[in-house]
Amino acid sequence: MKIENFSYRYKKQFLFEKVDFYFEDCQVNFILGAKGIGKTTLLDQIVKRKRNDHFIGFPNVKKIAYLAQENEFRVGLTVREIINFIYDLNKVLDLEMPPEITKLLDCSFNDLTKDEHKLVLIYINLLVDKELYLFDEPGAGIDLSCSKMVFGWFRELAELDKTVIVTTSRLDNIYDIDNVNYIKNTQEIIADNYLKIKARMAF
């Protein structure tokens, strides 16, 4: 999947100006960049119902799962009821439930801590059977061990031949061989494996 010669303006200013992005199929891909640089905007463009010709190889919107960064939604259901709702949907993956989720099953969604809340939301997004999974800053606001576990889940998803795109402004949880699109500025995107990106980020 790739985005070629892409430009996007917000309030008359370019967020992206004739840039290219490249994503490996069936792998965990990263969009790396400072806060406010346009990572969420890029994901929003990927999930647009009518994409323009610059977006190549992306699946139909119905085959994309997208976990937005802001998810302050609270509801008086238990975690079990929420997961059962996902199981009722027409295409669900047969994933083994992590113990971290199992122990929360009977808790009310309203009573979860911030970390638990995010873990459950990420997990329910993994459960639905889609071709492409987008996660907007999944590691933001959760502690390091939680975020490490979550990125482990993403890698398991990639092993099931699913493509995952994750935006992040942090460098932890990225492996040297991972495909990274580093947004340096509005006109320059460096797309390569993380080892090479690290070498070029210094300059």
Binding site: V61, K62, E70, N71, L89, N90, L121, I124
Partner: protein
């Protein structure tokens, strides 16, 4: 084929039944008011319609509309849309749940009135049941305009509070003449009341109400069709 729609409908019903707090002001308050006013204004069905109108508008607002706004402003509407594959299924499920809740509330309200205050005929029960479908749909369509507002959350809350207090206050004065037409057009309480009393009114008012119904249904259809998953309140 409809597994996703059925799944979201089930979960929305579960959420509606768990969030019982709003039943206090959508059902308990009108029951309380009808007991207070039972000696003066319950001589005819038209008096009942004021309470039905209150139940419909407050339930649509506190259930359907606030639910959607909370989902969207919390960012979950976006996530849920891509989980489900359609944002319209979420809106539709919300609407169907409101139909169910409104029918239940109006039935319970009529039951309380008929047991403790004055006899409500079977025809009135049936009339309430049938017209409330259109009333709920019309009210949702009319108030869908609120989904387009882009302002600070605090101003939104203030606007809604004023809108409600004024709406209920103006309904209570039972306006006549041109004021009645104006208020019917802009006040959801008055519009829904107008819909319930339409069979007891003049030919011109029936045409006017019909135009309002068609206009608001078209407006609501367009707004819900193009509903944005992005948050608008700051």
């Amino acid at each position: 084929m409809f597994e996703n729609d059925w799944a979201i409908l089930k979960v929305q019903i579960r959420i509606a039944l768990k969030e019982r707090f709003y039943f206090i002001y959508t059902l308990i308050v009108p029951i309380f008011m009808v007991f207070i006013n039972k000696n003066q204004d319950l001589q005819d069905n038209e008096s009942l319609y004021i309470y039905w109108s209150y139940i419909v508008v407050t339930t649509v607002f506190n259930g359907f509309l606030i639910n959607l706004i909370r989902l969207r402003e919390g960012g979950f509407f976006k996530t849920l849309t891509y989980l489900m594959g359609s944002r319209h299924s979420i809106v539709l499920a919300n609407l169907l749940v409101q139909f169910f809740v409104i029918q239940l509330e109006i039935f319970l309200f009529n039951l309380v009135v008929t047991i403790f205050i004055t006899h409500v005929s079977a025809i009135t029960f049936l009339y309430g049941f049938l017209v409330s479908f259109l009333a709920a749909l019309l009210c949702s369509a009319m108030m869908s305009g609120l989904l387009l507002l882009r302002m600070k959350q605090v101003y939104f809350n203030l606007l809604i509070s004023c809108f409600f207090i004024l709406g209920i206050g103006l309904l209570g004065i039972r306006p006549h003449g041109i004021l009645n037409y104006v208020l019917t057009m802009i006040n959801p309480f008055q519009l829904i009341y107008g819909l319930y009393v339409v069979h007891c009114t003049s030919g011109f008012y029936i045409i006017f109400i019909s135009l309002c119904v068609v206009g608001y249904l078209i407006m609501g259809g367009l707004i819900f069709r193009n509903i944005s998953v992005k948050n608008r309140l700051k």
